[in-house]
């Protein structure tokens, strides 16, 4: 088996892909030479330049568009006079206006699902030193999620014969509807809000709790032992992690004095000594502990690693959505990312001051731009946790909650009380 035996006789090129490139044996992309000096690689430099350009471009566009919230009010009054002049009763105008706002709020989880799924696959790929979707859309697989959605929409919809048909069909609906309703009191920027109700926080936690029912229904009705176990596990986990999540928000509400999410965000405007923004996370002990407990509990609420025992891939095949194919599976996927977006929006409005700019001289950007950037940074933390941590075992997960998170959040409420007594 000597080297010189390789000599083809016929050399007609059968394949010449337009931009095909052959890596001769010496270039094998070994990490030893790729990571010695990353900045010397042209592709790496081009990638960094594209990323920086993207961020600056979006910031420029946001600066150009400016505040959207306050501009809506005059448009609404103009349209109202126009409709009144046509004799349309005021009641119907309000209905049409809420319907239009409703479409935009429905757009939030839908667009977020398209973006977040693609972003998670890219971030997880680059964490694992690979590239993620590249070929589907025109730039870095931009249309990957759209292609997945259309394909799932066209898949055959299997209902196992030993399944409880009605409950099996109803489960994704019961999971998805609260995931959309919950976005009503959540602000997206300065008075960019659907319903500025006063009990926003209670509403969010109340409606968020309903989707647990959907997961249990999915688990039980699929007639599959693995999904039954997944459903029961999610019942135990979601209910028990609801408590520390709510108790973590209590000090924030005590400090802000209102339950209205937009007002809590507004309360955190202004700067201590001109530099440090008055965000709740910067309150001495109470803020940091509350934020960490809320972050951990939200990761548990959205069934993401290290708390993803309901759909544990290595133990229960795919947990509660084992028997779901096609569009019903897509709905579960959509609602999971809606809850991730919700948790990030809540965290940025409770702890990071909603639309407020981190430094005084940075407030030329509009409030919704700051709000979205904080949400994206927090969403990056969710993705980062997912690709680093292993999964809890069921009983260790319960110990962690009842023996660690809950006592810490209760102590935190006491500390919040002491802080308020000191401040007043």
């Amino acid at each position: 088996m000597t080297e010189e035996t390789i000599q083809p006789k016929v050399l007609e090129p059968v394949f010449n892909h337009a931009n095909g490139r052959l890596l001769m044996p010496e270039t094998r992309y070994w990490p030893t030479d790729m990571w010695k000096s990353p900045w010397s690689l042209p592709t790496y430099r081009r990638g960094a330049a594209v990323l920086a350009g993207l961020i600056l471009g979006i910031a420029g566009v946001a600066w150009f568009i400016g505040e959207i919230g306050p501009r809506l009010a005059p448009i609404y009054t103009l349209a109202e006079q126009f409709a009144l002049s046509y004799g349309v009763p005021a009641f119907w105008i309000a209905v049409v206006w809420t319907f239009i706002k409703g479409v935009f709020v429905l757009l939030a989880p839908a667009l977020n699902a398209l973006f977040a799924v693609w972003w998670e696959r890219k971030i997880s790929a680059h964490i694992q030193s690979r590239m993620g979707p590249m070929y589907v859309g025109w730039w870095h697989g931009a249309l990957q999620t759209l292609a997945d959605g259309i394909k799932l929409f066209l898949k055959e919809d299997i209902v196992p014969d030993c399944a409880d048909k009605v409950v099996h069909w109803l489960a994704p609906v019961v999971v998805l509807i609260p995931a959309i309703l919950v976005f009503a009191p959540v602000p997206f920027g300065k008075d960019l809000i659907y319903a500025n109700i006063d009990i926003g926080t209670v509403y969010v936690f109340a409606v968020g709790g309903v989707s647990v029912m959907g997961i249990i229904m999915a688990g039980w009705s699929s007639g599959n032992k693995f999904s039954l176990l997944g459903g029961l596990r999610s019942a135990a986990q979601l209910v028990s992690y609801e408590l520390p999540r709510t108790f973590a928000v209590l000090p924030v509400i005590m400090l802000a004095g209102t339950l209205n999410i937009a007002d809590i965000a507004g309360f955190q405007a202004g700067y201590w000594g001109g530099i440090v923004p008055r965000w709740f996370i910067f309150y001495p002990v109470v803020g940091q502990v509350a934020f960490i407990v809320f972050l951990i509990a939200s990761v548990a609420e959205t069934n993401r690693v290290p708390f993803d025992i309901p759909e544990a891939e290595s133990e229960l095949v795919a947990g509660f959505n084992t028997e779901y194919s096609g569009m019903k599976f897509a709905l579960f996927f959509l609602s999971e990312f809606a809850y991730v977006l919700l948790s990030c929006l809540l965290m940025s409005s409770f702890f990071f001051g909603g639309g407020a700019a981190p430094l005084p001289f940075l407030d030329f950007l509009p409030s919704w731009a700051w709000f979205l950037s904080k949400t994206l940074i927090l969403m990056f933390c969710f993705l980062w946790f997912r690709w680093t941590f292993p999964r809890f075992r069921v009983d260790r997960l319960m110990d962690f909650n009842w023996k660690f998170l809950l006592p810490v959040s209760l102590l935190n409420i006491a500390a919040g009380g002491v802080l308020i007594w000191l401040l007043s």
Partner: protein, 181 residues
């Protein structure tokens, strides 16, 4: 659907018959080919090369291939390894559990026709004796790029499918190799 898709052509009427691809077929085939979800189903040595194809160097996810553990959410089944007779029933059962349209790639000599165990008493000589196969991939085990080449060829086969022809499902066929158009 005014969605911008790369190189999506209008109705393509080919002179002299041929396949007239309406826009909806083009869109449906584009969606199906760009998100091929295989079932994590490894039998023997080819499964290790399949895992190497999902790993960092030959990243399968660039083509939208995202492995799913349950047959309900899988489009393609990579039969990677020797099909023992004791494993034949579970393979048939899993193939039936997959929703339409479903495809099968026989990866490696053992799945093609028994490979090095062609004269063994306990091996099914080729997986197309029990389920229909769309693409056979030689190699023992084939390189991860060869598996990607097989997926590219399967995508080419899928692009020629028309909804009018098979109502969006793959033709029902018990065993043997399969024509998709």
């Amino acid at each position: 659907m005014g969605i911008v898709l790369d190189n999506l052509s209008k109705i393509e009427a080919l002179p002299g018959g041929g396949i007239a691809l309406a826009t909806s077929d083009e869109l449906i085939n584009w969606a199906r080919t760009s998100s091929v979800w295989p079932l994590t189903f490894g039998l023997a040595c080819c499964a290790i090369e399949m895992m190497a194809a999902y790993a960092s160097r030959f990243d399968f996810e660039r083509m939208g291939v995202f492995p799913r553990p349950t047959p309900r959410q899988a489009d393609v089944m990579f039969v990677a390894g020797t099909v023992a007779k004791k494993m034949a029933d579970p393979i048939i059962r899993i193939y039936k559990q997959m929703p339409e349209p479903k495809f099968v790639i026989a990866m490696g000599g053992c799945a093609n026709c028994g490979g090095p165990f062609y004269d063994s008493y306990a091996v099914v000589k080729g997986v197309d004796k029990i389920i229909p196969v769309d693409v056979y991939l030689p190699g023992c085990p084939p390189r991860p790029e060869a598996l990607m080449y097989a997926v590219i060829k399967l995508q080419e086969k899928m692009r020629k499918m028309t909804v009018k022809g098979g109502h969006g499902a793959t033709p029902l066929q018990g065993t043997g190799s399969r024509k998709l158009t």
